[in-house]
Symmetry: D3
Amino acid sequence: MAVPALVPLIEEHTASPTVQAVFSDIRNTKQIDFVPAFWRALANQPELLAATWRQVKEVMHPESVGQTSSLDARTREIIAIAVSATNGCSYCMNSHTAALQKQGGNAALLGEIMRVVALFNATNALAEGFQIEPDVRPNFTT
Amino acid sequence: MAVPALVPLIEEHTASPTVQAVFSDIRNTKQIDFVPAFWRALANQPELLAATWRQVKEVMHPESVGQTSSLDARTREIIAIAVSATNGCSYCMNSHTAALQKQGGNAALLGEIMRVVALFNATNALAEGFQIEPDVRPNFTT
Amino acid sequence: MAVPALVPLIEEHTASPTVQAVFSDIRNTKQIDFVPAFWRALANQPELLAATWRQVKEVMHPESVGQTSSLDARTREIIAIAVSATNGCSYCMNSHTAALQKQGGNAALLGEIMRVVALFNATNALAEGFQIEPDVRPNFTT
Amino acid sequence: MAVPALVPLIEEHTASPTVQAVFSDIRNTKQIDFVPAFWRALANQPELLAATWRQVKEVMHPESVGQTSSLDARTREIIAIAVSATNGCSYCMNSHTAALQKQGGNAALLGEIMRVVALFNATNALAEGFQIEPDVRPNFTT
Amino acid sequence: MAVPALVPLIEEHTASPTVQAVFSDIRNTKQIDFVPAFWRALANQPELLAATWRQVKEVMHPESVGQTSSLDARTREIIAIAVSATNGCSYCMNSHTAALQKQGGNAALLGEIMRVVALFNATNALAEGFQIEPDVRPNFTT
Amino acid sequence: MAVPALVPLIEEHTASPTVQAVFSDIRNTKQIDFVPAFWRALANQPELLAATWRQVKEVMHPESVGQTSSLDARTREIIAIAVSATNGCSYCMNSHTAALQKQGGNAALLGEIMRVVALFNATNALAEGFQIEPDVRPNFTT
């Protein structure tokens, strides 16, 4: 944590009003009392900060923008963890695990998620390796 | 589907009794009336078939081996889809989407899952790219 | 192309007015006379369609939303190709190569891009494999 | 940086004459006054060092070997960054960002690059996830 | 190493008898005098620990379960290193390199392996990028 | 196979003398009677063709350039397969499997390789997911 990010982490009190407004919305929406380093790094490019936050807000906090979702908050964090473990992204694993923990998750739940993640990383490699063609193509009708 | 896999797809009626027993267990456990190409490819190496099926059975059908899971069947398929889309595995997307559909999922649900998957593939790239250090390290106690 | 996507591809003339408006904006902004399959697939979930298009429009067509970018259009397509080749995404390679060609790119330019992409996929594997620590940490000041 | 790489980092003054010649060429071509850890690690296998450096020299410093490129030096570094962020390679992000900075890049430029990289990691996941077939196959003529 | 894993690392002397039995089998089979952090993390979910160890034991120590393999122990470690470098997994590179070293491998051997790994990460990106169709489909007969 | 690559596949009889010389060397070194599509695609950029072939020749056919390797030809193909399956590259799986078959490999050997590949894609995901720190850092002395 002594190691700096590749870009300066913008401080909330020296940020432009536009950036401050996003920071404040992040703290309020996520109910946390600090602005995570991820967002402070993005703030070097205010459009990137605004666009990424808008998307995270819509997808992970749909109720805050008047949308509904058939996936509950815990399932969304689980998907985030599955993607992050598959990509090997450490910052992401840390932050999504912290979020899962906040929702009542414990080490055993994380273990169950990782068990499924590990299995499908294995079977994905087998299916790709053997170049297996689909048995059937799912056919959703609208 | 005319394209063969890299290895011969073992036919059930010509398979060894050991392989036939696994094939039969797959059909029964998954309640399908054919043996998917994935398993027929693995059957070229019976130990690989047996070990992979045992693991899929334990993780995806825990009740069939007397285990319990705090993740329900739909959530497990959602994790499988998140991993498969992140890895870009087509056979896997086809089969897990078919499974989700069987559990009542529709194109809209798949769309919601993919929306979360896409978002975190984007933010993973940002976190990795900017080399951001964790804010906090979750601290599970046993 | 006879193979259907995993979800129905929404037809423009049967789409809801909201979806039609996005489709129309896509055709106009990209100056093409059809709606690519990618967008027709996303249209099964209108929020996903709208959010993804808004982001593509802002990033790839910044002038259309009154933003500026220090990256020109060709460099942005080159980045898209570098990401898509690294991820092995075929639909993406097809569509971004088509876009590059529209901007005057030819097979030789694509070859030069791919040469750089291939080199860094190789050196990435070496750096990750040998677990090499950074020599120096770039230090941007704001 | 106190952490050693997986292999010893060869010191320039104790290296064989062949390795010293490559090290010297690296310092001169890149106009730096030290040999980066990456190259010192590769030097454990002199053929790997020579082959990798030759390729980096040809691709990233084409003028030094009498070749030309239709990609300029900045665009080549941008591609290197796009690949490294997509692969999540930290050593690579550090060194390519340092190179970009040397060419006059700042945190805002890196932010714009990462914005495009993040977007296409998201859309790649969507295209792969929905298994979308190409609309059109670009057709370069020689 | 002062940094904790995301989950508590179970201590051998406080573990349940089931977990202790697996830990003991790991130490004996691998002929090491401690339980690696990887296994102590998995022990938070005893089924995951047992299933993963059973699979590692069968695949990497086939003689210990009365199986045979046409791949020798060194080749199996080489595959593990190739996968781990391609995925950029540091814990994995550390542990598999340690195992290779125990089998008599040195920095030069690791260098040769990495040279092949790097080459094919490069050519994979080229083949994916240019979307090249197979020349021929291998045709194994059983 | 009716699907064209993204770039024209250069025909041997219409190629420039430089490209023809590389094509001829490929056929002779690999002892095949055609030029694979991969090399015909690269030939759109003769430097890329020459540099890639030189590297493949040095790494995969070291005896042809008077080098030696402590990895035998079969082990090198096995590494190529491990990388290609992990990356999900189909052209690569096809061509390296064909090469393995030429060296006497059969479906059972491919199955054993894939079993190890699948296992370590699973354990890589676990190690990355749980963010486990190395137990020990291998320490090669030169």
